[in-house]
Amino acid sequence: MQWDVVWNNFDYFLWGAFPNGPLGGLAVSIILAVLGIFGAFWIGLAAGLMRLSRNILVKSISVVYIEVIRGVPLLMLIFWFYFLAPVLLGKPLPEFHCALVAFIVFTGAYIGEIVKAGVIALPRGQMEAARGTGLSHVQAMRYIILPQALRNMIPSFVNQFVSLTKDTSLAYIIGVNELTRTATQVNNRTLSAPTEIFITIAVLYFIVCYVLTHFSRKMEAHLAKYQARDR
């Protein structure tokens, strides 16, 4: 076992060549995941609300989006944006942006499904009472339904963030310099300690994801006490 290869490159795993070069490694993975979940939240919120709409056209757009994206491997989606951006825009998009857009579109579909389920899980009476007090449908959604539903969905969002953090490793394939790529770079450079390198990388991902998973379970138990549910 040659753990010195890992220790010598440990700061490279964490933040790449920064500050002498571009940021890389775990830092980029986390930035991708955070920006991705932020974008996906708004897309997902829109998709989830459209999914619940009574307008058949609006609803179908959302159903098609959610079903198609959930039926396709993320890797395919990344390739789509990577090879399509030059065709559509006429110039290649930076890899980081391609990956980010793919993550947002992909995770947005899953969040759309979570939002839909979260709104449906609220008691029907909430909407009826809100409408009864004279609020419009949009107002009732905005002030009564969503604040409650989104609060209940926080654990699901955290779980989605965990799986997005793991999924950022796929950005490696189009050349984004995130944690997985730094690992393969060090592995190709040293060629002597693949076992040690990949165990270290796995542990780094594990620490980030497990802490979040643990946190989300705690929160789930905590929120369950205050939940309004249709039972």
Binding site: M76, F79, V87, L170, Y205
Partner: protein, 233 residues
């Protein structure tokens, strides 16, 4: 936008054949991995529920570790890093055979088994506890009780989540292209680099994945409609 579409190129001749070969490899590696995943997942789930502490700890650590690390890293680990961990005899056998395929199967199996184990555990937990007590009281051993009483009932409930995990596995199998398994994604990529017609090749591959997914989720819905409603405790 001056991009000439050429669907004929991708759908026929040599490149069409590549797509078909890719589909075959994707289905093969998925099928083999699904079978192993079910076996490993069941073992881990039953270990998790056993009263013997080391078993319980082992399966807890297994599930948490493999669920919280990216599949891609696991694939790289089994492909590049497993030789210093596995015994020499196993390594030699793997190198003589299709090592890429084997590494792909191992990583997909271990990764998905961590998820499947949790589904199976949830299914077993949903069987009333007195079922186990009653079957133990009739003289069955712990293993016999699981084999003949608990698991057959639990599996009926967990078939839908298991199928959807299998679907995830099929989609995740696209990652094995990174270690050179010539699956559907690999072939789409290959056609892109030979012909620069990435749009067509990725569209075809995407539609194939989509068809597989839609068929599978249709099957789950049918199953739910016809069987699951009858189960009541």
């Amino acid at each position: 936008m001056n991009y000439q579409f050429d669907w004929h190129l991708v759908l026929s001749g040599q490149y069409g054949q590549w797509i078909l070969d890719g589909v075959k490899v994707t289905l093969q590696i998925s099928a083999v991995s699904i079978v192993f995943t079910l076996l490993l997942g069941t073992i881990i789930a039953v270990m998790r529920m056993s009263k013997f502490k080391p078993f319980e700890w082992f399966s807890f650590a297994f599930v948490e570790f493999f669920r919280n690390t990216p599949l891609l890293i696991q694939i790289f680990f089994w492909y590049f890093g497993s030789y210093s961990i596995l015994p020499d005899g196993v390594n030699e056998w793997l190198y003589d055979h299709d090592f890429e395929f084997a590494a792909g199967v191992i990583s997909l199996t271990v990764y998905t088994a961590a998820f499947v184990a949790e589904e199976i555990r949830a299914g077993i937990n949903s069987i009333p506890k007195n079922q186990l007590e009653a079957s133990r009281a009739t003289g069955l051993s712990f293993l016999q009780a699981y084999r003949y009483v608990i698991l057959p009932q639990a599996f009926r409930i967990i078939i839908p989540p298991l199928i959807s995990q299998s679907l995830n596995l099929i989609k995740n199998s696209s990652l094995v292209m990174t270690i050179g398994v010539m699956d559907l994604t690999y072939m789409a990529r290959q056609i892109e680099s030979y012909t620069f017609h990435g749009f067509e090749s990725f569209t075809v591959a995407t539609l194939i994945y989509l068809c597989i997914s839609l068929v599978v989720s249709f099957a789950i819905n049918m199953y739910n409609k016809h069987f699951l409603l009858q189960i009541k405790y």
